[in-house]
Every structure is written in C-alpha cells, then in structure tokens.
Amino acid sequence: MTSCKARAALLALAGMILPTLSQAAADDVATLRAELDALKKEYTTRVDALEQRIATLESAPVGALAQSAPAEAPPAMAMPSQSGSAPGTAFNPAMSLILAGSYTDTSQDPDTWRIGGFIPSGGEVGPGARSFNLGESEITLAANVDPYFSAQMTAALTGDDEVEVEEAFFRTLALPEGFTAKGGRFFSGFGYLNEVHAHAWDFVDQPLAYQAFFGGQFKQDGLQVKWLAPTDLFIELGAETGNGDEFPGTQRNRNGLNGATLFAHVGGDIDDATSWRAGAAYLDQHAEDRAWDTIDEFGLPLTNSFTGKSQTWVVDGVLKWTPVGDPQRRQLKVQGEYMRRRESGDLTFDTAGSNLSDGYRSTQSGWYLQGVYQFLPRWRAGLRYDALDSGTPHIALVESGELPLSAFPTLLPADPDRISIMLDWNPSEFTRLRAQYDWDNARDEDDRDRVFRLQYIYGIGAHGAHKF
C-alpha cells in the first residue's frame, strides 16, 4: 500500500469511529458507573463468602478438609501461592545456571599440547591455559511448549567472552509407540559421555578419545528419532542426521541429509544394587576440505586438508553399584568407551602453497576406562586411564615418493595415553569442588605433562535431573 492510500484509509476509519464515540460517550458514562457499582457489590458478596469459607475451613479438623476439597481441584493449586507471581510470569521456563572455573598447573607449555598422530579437530581440547581460568557458564532454559512439544536451550558463555549455543532443541511429547523426535541443535545420543553436559562429568575434562575423535562432544544440527522397545529390558534405538558440520565432518554446500548416526542402547539391573547400560553406535560423516593448521618437516606453518569419508564406531558401557540404595552415600561407577574410525579420501598438502593432493587412508582407535567411587556422603574419588592408537596412515603422497613422511610430523604413528586421578567434595547437591592430577602423554613424547587442576562447579536455579 502506498503511504497516500494508507493515510486515506486511516482517515476513513477515524471518520467512522469518532462520531459514534462522541455520541455514545454521554450514555456510556452512566452505564459504566452502574456496571461498576454492580461489580463492586458482587465482589463484596464474593469476598464475604470466601472469608466465611476460610473461617470454616480453619476451624474444621484436618480430616474434614478432605471431604470439602474436590479431588480435581487440589487445594495447593487452587489457592494463590503466598509469594504470588506477577502477571505473565507464571509460565516462565525452568531456569538454571551453572558456574565453573579452575586453577591449572602444567609442567609443560599448554600451547604445545596436541594429540600425537591425530588430525586436530579444532575443538576445545587440552588442559587449557595455566593459572586461573573461568570455565563455561551454562544457562539452561526448558519448558513444555504445548501438549505436543517441549523445548530447551543451553547457552554457554565462555571465559573468552563468547556465547555458544550448546544445545537448542525441541522434543516431541506425544508421539505414539515409544517414539521421541528431537530437532535443532543437540548433543548426539551415541556413546555414554557424549550427551553429558560438562558440569556433570566425573573428571574436569573429557577422555582423550572424545577429544581426539570429536574435538570434545559431537553436536548435531539436525534431527533425531529414538524408539524405546516395550520390554522390561531397556532397549533404545536411535537415528540422527544433520548438516554434517561438526568434526569429523564438514558443512557441504549440498541439499538434503549430511551424515548419519545410528545408535542402540541396552540396559537393566543385575540385582537391587547393580545397574548397567551398554551401547553401540555408528557415525557416517563426510568431510570436504577439512583444513587444519600444522607444520612441515622444517617446522614452518602451513595448512593441510582432507576430503573424504569418515566412519566411526563407538562402543560404550557403564555399571553402577549402589550397595545402600543411596548414590550419595556409597556408589561405585565404572564406565568405558571404545572408538574406532576409518577415514579414506584425499589429503592435500600445503593448500596455500604447493597444494599437492593424493589418496589418504587411516584407521585409528582409542578407549578409556574409569571408575568413580563415592566412599563417604560428600566425597568421591576417581581413576581414569586413557589410550589412543593413531595407527599408520597411508599417505599416497609419501608412498609415491613425492613427499617424505617427515613432511607430516603430526601424523607420525603415535600411541598417546594418560592417567588421571580425581577427588571431589560435594557439600550439597549443588556444589562440587574437585582436584585432579593427570600424567598426560597425549603428545606421545618422552616427558609426561604433569597437570594439576582445581575446579569448582556451582548450580543455581532449577533442580537438575540427570540421565543414568
């Protein structure tokens, strides 16, 4: 509509309304006054009636309340809460904020930290900077949208003043036959630790396998469908797809589904005190010009890249033993995961310079096993062992003699490992203070990096609920 037409239309509208208003005004004042009086009267009678009811209720014995309170309108809900809520705030989502931070002491320069033999993921890996560090502050908002969907978002504010959307997804509430669908951005459902938020980890950091294979946690920007079998044995099957833009894949300028994840979990109880869950997963990803900064045989910086298929298998298992039925009094939790990845495609050497490209194939694996023991109501101790095997990659540029193997110093075969011990103190459900010591040989060099960290985790707001 042009502005001229709009003005004409407005004028016409005003012309229709205004006369009616002025005409009605005089009569209306009188009617309104009468209505108000009527309302006032009605409310006075209602308030009187209510006061009388309250008086009867208060004087009645407790048992009599039951008969007068209808089951469908519980008294706790029908009566306005004492604190009351301002209009429009009753539907606020559940909110929680997690604050974390650490003090780090490393024997080697953290800037030189890398995982020997593995192509860097570009993720947030390694022990982090020395001295005091502000960790991620996680804000989570969650609520049901309507009877059909719920929604949840977790944003992480990093110590470097960045905001990161960790998860932001909807989830179905009303699909039949044990199906649940989830869409948006979410931590992929494979493995055991992948879905667990940082504040609920049993150690300060992720196992090396997660750091090497997924650069931390694998997030999916896409869709997930899960199905739970109607059996007493827990059997869960899930499938996911997305835009493929997460290490080891890359975003491809391509329509449709990019990458697929399939996973299955099985679980149950061995006896009253012992529960378990085990799982297997397969991730099929594709990388296109997945570049990483590295060095050549002379130590000069350059960028290499990979294009091809990336297939990962993950096997996970967890066992919890809770002898007195209260996990906060005594519990032993043992968990382990094994990952194996095959990548095949083309490797490009020095994309900005000589730009040589030829075939590449690798099979790499890694695993960890950890145990955490809650030995006293506030105290837990943990031990973790990490190991990786980079295998020997087939680099056609090297095999054809075009380049020496030393041109890829970061891809030389390596078997990094690490031992970590942990002690944490939990004065309440909402506070965790932790100390961790690592003998870290991720670099696979002669000297182990000795890493000591102190960490705090505080949770405020809504009471958290965690998966098994």
Binding site: V62, G63, A66, A71, P74, P75, A76, M77, Q82, P147, R171, L173, A174, L175, P176, E177, G178, T180, K226, W227, L228, A229, P230, T231, D232, L233, F234, I235, E236, L237, A264, V266, G267, G268, D269, D272, S275, W276, R277, Y282, K320, T322, G325, D326, P327, Q328, R329, P377, R378, P427, S428, E429, F430, I460, H463, G464, A465, H466, K467, F468
Partner: protein, 301 residues
C-alpha cells in the same frame, strides 16, 4: 549395517504383536503408593514400584530398567512436590510414553490433594534442599492416605472406565477399613502427644503433626545436608540441657549419626519403617502404621 536394521525391524514387529494386557500397568515411585494402588486396583492393576523402602526417594537414579518400565506404564503414581525431581522427569522424558506425561490422566501426584506443611516463605538454597511447594513426605499421616486413596481411585476409574464400579467398590471398602484403623491408631497413640523427639530429616513432620509429637531438633542441619561434626557437637550441647525422649530414624537412613547422638544425650533410637517394606512388619499400609505406633510405644512406655 543391514543386519542391524533387520534386527531393529524384527524387534518392532515383535513389539506390535505382543498381546495387550488388560490390567492397568502402574509405575509407583514409592512402596507406599504401590501398596495403595494395589489396595484400590486389586487384580485390575499390575503394580511396579520404582524404589525400595530402604532408598531415599529423592536420590534415586533414572536407571535404564526404570525407563523401560515407564515406557509401558499406563499410570505413574508419584509423590510430586519435587520429591522425585532428580529422576522422574528423566524417566518420563526418556520413556517416549505420551500417556504418562504430566497433565495427562496417566500421571498422578499424591501431594496434589494434600495441603502441604512447611511450605517455605523464602526460596533460598542456603536453607538446604527445600521443596518450594512444601514438605512432600506426606504418607505418615493416615488422613492424607485417605484423601489420596479417594483421588487415586477416581483416577483409576477414569483410566479404566469399564471397571469404574469395581474401583468404587474397592475404594469404599478400603475407606471403611482405613477409617476404623485410624480410630484405633489415634486411640493407641493418644499417650504419645507432646513427646519430644529428634528427627533425622524433616520427613517425619506429618507423623509428628498427626500424633502431636514435638520435633525439638533435626540431625540434618538443613534438608538434604548430611550433618557435620561441628553441628553434631552443637546438637549434643543443646540436647544435653533438654534431652529428648527419643531419636527417630527412618529405615532408609544411615543410623550412624543418630546412634552417636543417642549415646551422648541418653535418648533411645527408634528405627521406624517410614514406608511400606521399611521393616518386616510393615507389609502393607495398615502394617506401616501398626508398626510405627508399636515401635514408638515400645520405647516410650
């Protein structure tokens, strides 16, 4: 991979072919609600209880076995008021079962028909792990059980209208027996009125209110916080001046702190069942109250 998909398909078909069970599958979060559902539903319900009486229901984990039970449940009977907040929402969410989502007929909270005590005026966790809606441990006042029974029976009739009359009949029968039992218990427990007791956690509040017991101290300094040595020292000082008649401990509690205190303030410890199954005598809801009163009267005579 194709093998994986084939097994998944086989499972699906197997699941669809399972015969429909006529009985209502009830998933109760505590043994008390399990016992109540059995009283009211008789052979028309199939009850699975998620916890044992020796567990702290606030600190249960969302075990895979429980998620699997939630998947096929027709009705979840929970305490509510955030007692199960650490695990029940996860069970319901992971179950993929639309019939038990909060707000649907398949989700029942016992506390929804009870006027809760100790509703905090200030929500501040420096006061401990408080429950904003009030104290959710409502089962130890038999009048509460009567109220919950009425509402739960109505819910069963709503879910399974074909047997509505059956549930009404059972509810009526239960109520008659229950009201008679309440009279018996109240007569028996009249002598307990005014007895000074030390409790473990504030989960005996409803029992104390019903019997007129006077809570003079709690071993947990604040709800959900285990006692520290310093706090216990203070308690000894306070209680030596005015010794309580008895220290009440629930079957699921770690009795260590209570026993330690008992030796110092010369008050006996009584281990109460707290929930159905907490003691061998507390076989059902009637046994729960019989045994609770017997245990109290045995030391206070």
């Amino acid at each position: 991979m194709s093998h994986f998909i084939r097994s998944a398909l086989a499972l699906l078909i197997f699941a669809a072919a399972l015969p429909a069970n006529a009985a209502i599958k009830v998933l109760a979060t505590t043994t008390d609600w399990g016992a109540l559902a059995t009283e009211l539903g008789g052979d028309q319900v199939n009850v699975y209880v998620a916890t044992s009486a020796l567990q702290d229901v606030h600190r249960v984990e969302a075990k895979p076995s429980l998620v699997a039970r939630a998947r096929s449940a027709d009705l979840v009977v929970a305490s509510g008021a955030e007692l199960e907040i650490g695990w029940l929402p996860v069970l319901i969410q992971e179950s993929g079962n639309r019939h038990i989502q909060p707000g649907s007929p398949g989700y029942f909270e016992a506390t929804s028909v009870i006027q809760l005590l100790e509703k905090p005026e200030h929500f501040d966790r420096s006061l401990g792990d408080i429950h904003p809606q009030g104290n959710p441990h409502v089962q130890l006042d038999p009048h509460n059980i009567a109220r919950i029974a009425k509402a739960l029976s109505e819910r069963l009739a709503e879910l399974d209208s074909a047997h509505a009359q059956y549930y009404q009949q059972r509810a009526k029968d239960f109520d008659t027996r229950w009201q008679a039992a309440i009279q018996r218990w109240e007569a028996k427990g009249a002598s307990l009125k005014g007895t000074q007791v030390v409790v473990m956690h504030r989960d005996q509040t409803y029992l104390c209110q019903w019997l007129g017991l006077q809570q003079v101290a709690a071993i947990e300094p604040k709800p959900g916080m285990p006692p520290t040595a310093g706090y216990l020292g203070q308690l000894v000082q306070q209680l030596t001046k005015a010794p309580p008649r008895v220290i009440l401990v629930n079957a699921y509690n770690d009795p260590k702190a209570a026993t330690w205190l008992s030796d110092r303030v010369h008050a006996p410890v009584v281990v109460l069942p707290f929930s159905v199954g907490g003691t061998p005598e507390a076989k059902d809801l009637f046994g729960l109250f019989d045994d609770t009163l017997n245990k109290l009267l045995a030391v206070l005579k």
